[in-house]
Assembly symmetry: C3
Homo-oligomer: 206 residues x 3
């Protein structure tokens, strides 16, 4: 099994569980929970694949992903009452998922021969768009547009990965460095309640 | 004309009419009605085609679909006052559309050489995603995520079709059996108000 | 630089600025503003490319677009307090963007060998879908479904372009005529508050 595949599976589990939990907070039925879990975990990668024309999209060609998502969703439904006692672990799950997806996205975009800036954009899309779709399906303004520096962290991590990878660092080191940066910065951002500088100080748009 | 094409056209008419009626309940203008009718009827098949890389997507290559949707929408607008007296027929229309789209979706996915589980997922997407898009465009949480067993019926019917088709039954018989199952189960589900077992009995997520 | 590219860039600037302004009215953070600007300007062309299978989608292959959008968004953020004094210019920007995108969309669809009706539909999608995505992301029913004759103007302009182009008029003349029709009709429509004829006169759907 290639390292990219393992990364993808780990990220898939993280996102499927966090998606299922969100769907249960919205009181969706079993089918709805499964769909939100599926969309949250494969949504970003699916959009990335569609945008670069890599079809059929990845998760359709590798049943592992489908089974992993079904399994993770089932676990999330059965153990939902315990999961609320492990909120911190779930936050960690989610953050690791973001790091893994960003790097995998950048790798796939690079392999498609696209411009570095586009690669970072595609890495960010891979990591964030599942959550955007989840919010749209649950009828909310996507959280990453007005809270948290979630996406900014992906842009940072994706750029670091691409730079260190281009600079000649071994793949594994580049991935480790970028992954750690994403995980640390996001954790700090949530703990310290960082947000992007506001552009509304003088309230021109009241 | 192939049997798959006829199936597709019948499903298109059913969905276009039900989409136009929804748009009129939302008081959209003529253009809005037409778009919602179009999206409801071709949305599922379009997503299926995009996911498996079958582009340009089907409806663009066969003007029949475009004309059929324009015609059905016009009929729905002109005869809207009569359509409310035929609610049962419209429900039947919609249910037949679901059955037809599920089977057509499974067939196209099978022809693309995908895994049986993915074929059933794509059949369900073909049948349900038009309605999901309609609900998103009308700013609502998609109904299939919290009410009705709509999608579950598609999964059931798609699986039956695939199993009987693989088991060696003639295409026409397999389609008839699967189609009848979808139509009967959905009708029973709505009449008897069946829903998926709740996962919220103990209200962990209050 | 080809004429189609120049057209595309001008339209991109117009839409990015109008997208950024909308995002600022919604009080999104800097990242949210950038994404809404990006989606508003490349959303329509991206859907067109995906539907006809022209991948990687256009803006990923031409960094000019990405830089232009970043630049235009920056300008919109910095000069936002002045932009409200130039509302009329912004309306003009938006209208020119619509005209340019419609024509570019029809051209690309024609080059893909699609049916004229589909070409006009794709031209309209190119011009309108960015705004639809913007409204969905901001959790509103897309404005073009219930107000303004925005899309109708695109259908009109696209048809005129296709007809005059097919009739043998030189490209530049056909584009000029169609572009002017879109700009004039839309301006008149907004000034005179034109809307599509209502289908709800007798209120069948109360």
């Amino acid at each position: 099994m290639e390292i990219t595949t393992i990364i993808d599976i780990l990220g898939t589990v993280s996102f499927a569980i966090s998606g299922a939990l969100t769907a249960m907070r919205k009181k969706l039925d079993v089918f709805g929970i499964l769909i939100i879990a599926l969309v949250t975990s494969v949504g970003g990668g699916t959009l990335r694949d569609i945008l670069i024309g890599k079809t059929p999209v990845s998760w359709m060609l590798n049943m592992t992903f489908v089974y992993v998502i079904f399994g993770a969703t089932l676990v999330a439904i059965i153990f939902r009452s315990y999961l609320k006692y492990v909120r911190r672990s779930l936050f960690l799950f989610d953050t690791i998922g973001i790091a893994l997806y960003t790097i995998a996205g950048v790798q796939i975009a690079t392999a498609a021969g696209l411009h570095p800036v586009v690669c970072v954009v595609l890495g960010t899309i891979s990591a964030c768009f599942g959550g955007v779709l989840r919010d749209i399906l649950c009828n909310e303004i996507p959280i990453i547009f007005h809270k948290e520096i979630y996406a900014t962290v992906c842009i940072l991590g994706g750029s670091v990965y691409l730079a260190s990878s281009t600079a000649g660092l071994p793949q594994s080191i580049a991935m480790l460095v970028a992954g750690c940066i994403i995980i640390i910065v996001r954790t700090l951002a949530v703990v310290k309640e960082w947000s992007l500088p506001s552009v509304y100080k003088k309230d021109y748009f009241k």
